[in-house]
Symmetry: C2
Subunit: 204 residues, 2 copies
């Protein structure tokens, strides 16, 4: 593959990413992608054969990026509280740079649930859960979190971070009426969410 090929393929991929994230698989038009890439439709098919192939390539890359962002938080030796703070800082900063990603992933997985299986194929959640639980055994006991409620806690953290972006259209509609800027709301939410979760799991 020559340097020129790579550049064209790259251009197509970037244009396709923009269009698919904006309009979704069903709403996207090959003509629109070609226009944004500055080439013609025939060339799209030369590089990616079908719309499905092109979409799959984009989805796998972008959805993968999003799920990867959940991992590193649990790798290091921080306390549970510091990990929670780190999570919201890092994760929401990532979403600020990729604000359309949550809505895109949520929509396309609901449309075609099989996609999630492929994405999670190599993830061993049971081992992961166990690791978190072992690593923070004492803290979790102190916080009164059982092994059974750990999934509820994790999903709650994801919800706190992801929901405002996934439902961005709705949120902006509400915030506009309150004269609150979306970005300012998110900025403040990083600390709010961390405090909220830490307080929620702290015993009285």
């Amino acid at each position: 593959m020559t340097e020129n090929d790579r550049q064209t393929e790259e251009k197509i991929f970037e244009a396709a990413t923009e269009v698919f994230l904006e309009k979704g698989m069903d709403g996207a038009r090959m003509q629109d992608i070609a226009d944004r890439a500055g080439i013609n439709k025939a060339l799209l098919h030369y590089y990616f054969r079908t719309k499905d192939h092109l979409f799959d390539a984009v989805f796998e890359k972008k959805a993968g990026e999003m799920f990867k962002k959940f991992e590193p938080v649990f790798d290091d030796g921080l306390s549970l509280e510091d990990k929670i703070r780190l999570f919201f800082r890092e994760h929401m900063a990532f979403l600020q740079e990729n604000p359309k990603l949550p809505g895109f992933v949520v929509t396309e997985i609901n449309r075609n649930p099989d996609r999630i299986k492929k994405l999670l194929k190599n993830v061993d959640f049971n081992a992961f859960w166990l690791l978190v639980f072992e690593k923070h055994k004492n803290e979790l006991k102190k916080y009164n979190i059982s092994k059974e409620s750990l999934p509820q806690l994790m999903i709650s953290m994801a919800a706190m971070s992801v929901f405002p972006f996934a439902a961005r259209g709705i949120l902006e509609g509400i915030l506009e009426k309150l004269d609150i800027d979306f970005n300012k709301f998110i900025e403040e939410r990083i600390e709010f969410a961390a405090d909220f979760v830490i307080n929620a799991i702290t015993r009285k």
Copy 2:
């Protein structure tokens, strides 16, 4: 309008609701709607002129139902804590009966943000905020919640309740790997979420 008309229009509307909630505006096919309603395409256009009209009718009704479900919780004379418990019980029970609604509303509003403006046209959030704040002034002070952080709290409650349904495809993919049933997870979440939020806002 005769009884027969009403029945046909009803049948079309219900079929359209099913298809639009499943496939979204872009993925839905008029032929599919006609088939499920047990009539032909021409009759769809006789009753609703265009696909856009039909979609608008469905969206307005279903999205309206969802937002209405947020209101009554704030009407009565319960304590803040009881209202929070009531909210999760009522709201999540409603979503259990309409599991595809969150994904549908989120997707279609992101696709066309103007829709939200029409929906919220007659809602005075500032008055609503103020009402909640006045009604629970003392409790909020006790809980250490400022007027500024009230929107963050409300969005967090919405996130805790709505996110698992909006991102249902993702959640089911994860839960399957942990041998947890989605409905059981939701059932347990009703109490978990209420405890979580109440604990989060309680001073230590």
